[in-house]
Symmetry: C2
């Protein structure tokens, strides 16, 4: 529970006014007052504050109404009052970018993860960020903070990567390390969670309250926004969709705790599709090739890929039955083949969930990670602007 005092309430109302401006710009003081049911003097004072702090700009006058009267002064949100740095650390590449408060990317960089040894990754990241900052002629004061997405379980509160196998990080205090180089606040989060935050901020899940994001690639992971907030579970490991069991009989021959990854992953992830087809064909086949072979009518490929899709479909249906979301977003490596998935999955969902639900592919391309990381920052950071 929270203790309130005058500062708390002023901040609260300032946020409310700013949100109103962001949602309805251009807007006048007078209209804000009507919309949020706050007295005109109070609105004027708060707007004055917001203008002085740079969040809001006056952009000339608007038109009078038909019945006459003084023309209103138009107020707009200033997305360039501050900039945010988004970082996406992945198993194959580390991408970083700088965006304004509307999520527009003004600078972007990436490098291959494997080229940098464990210790060098953050060093290289530091260089990339500095170069981008210079490029945009920004000072430390212009930067609000940084969000980082990491491919593993993350203790968000402490800023520690609990376990990220692909990075070989275990209980790695990444926030502490990164913070040493910068003066602004840094937030860290699992990359699937940053993805769903990005989708809710600017993507397919815009302004929805309950969405699920499923990433199918090397493994199968998921993140969810429930009641408008990221849900992390009691130990930061909610959404482990790869562990879903969709075939109880088959599951008896499989033990995730021993194999190291989940049942559904062992059937439906990109990696396992490749593996399974490879062993059937006795030659090395990737997931991408498996999809290609399937298109060509290869019987083995059809069997493997179709069963993968089917099981994924049941996994998603189960997810929907439990969560009743407004939208399911599919991302990750295989989201490129979304059209091939779609029908089968939608059919399973329609048949096996109490209340159906739309499934769409993820909105973003290369910049997904950066946008998500920025969304994370803006969601977590206590400020007058909040998404």
């Amino acid at each position: 529970m929270q203790k309130g005092n005058s500062a708390y309430i002023k901040n609260m109302n300032k946020k409310l006014v700013l949100k109103c401006i962001r949602d309805h710009e251009p807007i006048s003081r007078s209209e804000i007052s009507k919309r949020i049911h706050m007295s005109k003097p109070s609105v004027s004072l708060l707007v004055e504050n917001l203008i002085q702090e740079g969040w809001v700009l006056e952009t000339g006058t608007g038109e009078s109404t038909i019945s006459g009267g003084r023309k209103p002064v138009q107020l707009v949100f200033n997305p360039k009052s501050f900039y945010v740095i988004g970082v996406d650390i992945g198993g194959t590449k580390v991408s970083s970018g700088i965006t304004c408060l509307n999520g527009h990317i003004y600078a972007y960089r990436e490098f291959a993860t494997k080229d940098y040894l464990e210790k060098d990754i953050l060093e290289r990241l530091y260089e990339d960020v500095n170069r981008m900052v210079e490029e945009l002629h920004l000072t430390d004061h212009d930067i609000m903070g940084m969000g980082i997405g990491v491919p593993g379980v993350t203790n968000v509160k402490e800023g520690i990567v609990v376990d990220a196998p692909s990075m070989k990080w275990r209980n790695f205090p990444i926030r502490e390390r990164v913070s040493q180089n910068f003066s602004f606040p840094v937030f860290v989060e699992n990359d699937v969670n940053t993805s769903v935050l990005g989708e809710q901020w600017l993507g397919a899940g815009k302004s929805l309250e309950n969405i699920i994001y499923i990433a199918v690639g090397t493994g199968i992971g998921s993140g969810m926004i429930l009641n408008g907030k990221l849900f992390r579970g009691s130990s930061y490991s909610a959404g482990e969709m790869g562990y879903l069991v969709t075939d109880a009989r088959k599951a008896k021959d499989y033990q995730p705790t021993i194999e190291g990854y989940g049942f559904l992953e062992s059937i439906a992830s990109g990696t396992s599709i490749g593996k399974r087809l490879s062993s059937l064909k006795s030659e090395h086949v990737t997931a991408k090739e498996a999809f290609e072979l399937r298109r060509q009518g290869d019987k083995d490929a059809i069997e493997i890929v179709d069963s993968a899709i089917e099981h994924l479909g049941f996994g998603i249906a189960n997810y929907i039955s439990l969560f009743d979301p407004e939208l399911v977003i599919i991302g990750g490596g295989v989201s490129g083949s979304f059209e091939e998935y779609e029908q089968t999955i939608s059919k399973i969902i329609d048949e096996f969930t109490p209340k159906s639900c739309q499934v769409v592919p993820s909105t973003f391309g290369r910049e997904a990670g950066v946008v998500g990381a920025v969304a994370l920052f803006l969601k977590e950071n206590e400020s007058v602007i909040q998404i």
Copy 2:
């Protein structure tokens, strides 16, 4: 977003002070001031308010510290400042009760659902409530409000039962109807959800932030508390665990949308256990008898019941993988046979979830529904006391 003013903040702080008293009673004004970092005059004022409104009582003086000083005045929460009515409407019986603010039941009544036709149920409920109120010599002013648990999908905001097959209710505006008889506020909620609220308030899930409650009986339903709040989904139908698919191959021969109830329900609910064994034995067998037969070593019963338990286990494991809860509570008709479930289910959970989780039976007996409904009221009602 919320607009703040001085009344809002005072109410907020009043809640905080009351919570502090409830959590640490008996406690002095001075200690509250230290605990919640609020000035002594402010605490005194708020406490004065709370005393006048009846929430708090002074109970004499405590002891001075070793270093001397004036003795503190002890403050305690007054659980009898108001009473709350809890109602549990079920397919077999309708139970109602009156509790104090600590959940102690002072009056209880129930009647068989089938004895009262559709229209008469609320009439009879009205009579029961009135008799209990008289019994306890309460006036309208002593009653804070009423919570109602219903066996079906409920639109909580509007107070409408969207669909409750066992009551033959469809879009039934129950809150409106009940409110006609009473002057206090009424809240309605699905019965599984009230159960989990009850467990979080006073039962196995006390003060936990993420818990799942699973009711296995006629069907299979579930409710969940996530981040300390009841999660209802985007259309009040989250937690439809009965629809989980735990055997993709078998599922192909089954269509929940046609059959009317979910896949897991068709295997693991009490009803279906009875049904399946009945058809195998060509005689009518109930779920209870099936369990009994299994204990006696009947082969058919063992097969049917064990597969039911197993599938339920996988369903729970899936639930846990997605939610990462602190606790899973099993309730409903079969929670009596919990010991027989426990081992199998725990083993499946240990093997098939990324991070294990404790499973316990539900705490309450007959009064479960009433306590849950009261918990619902106290959770939903905007007041200075909030659970």
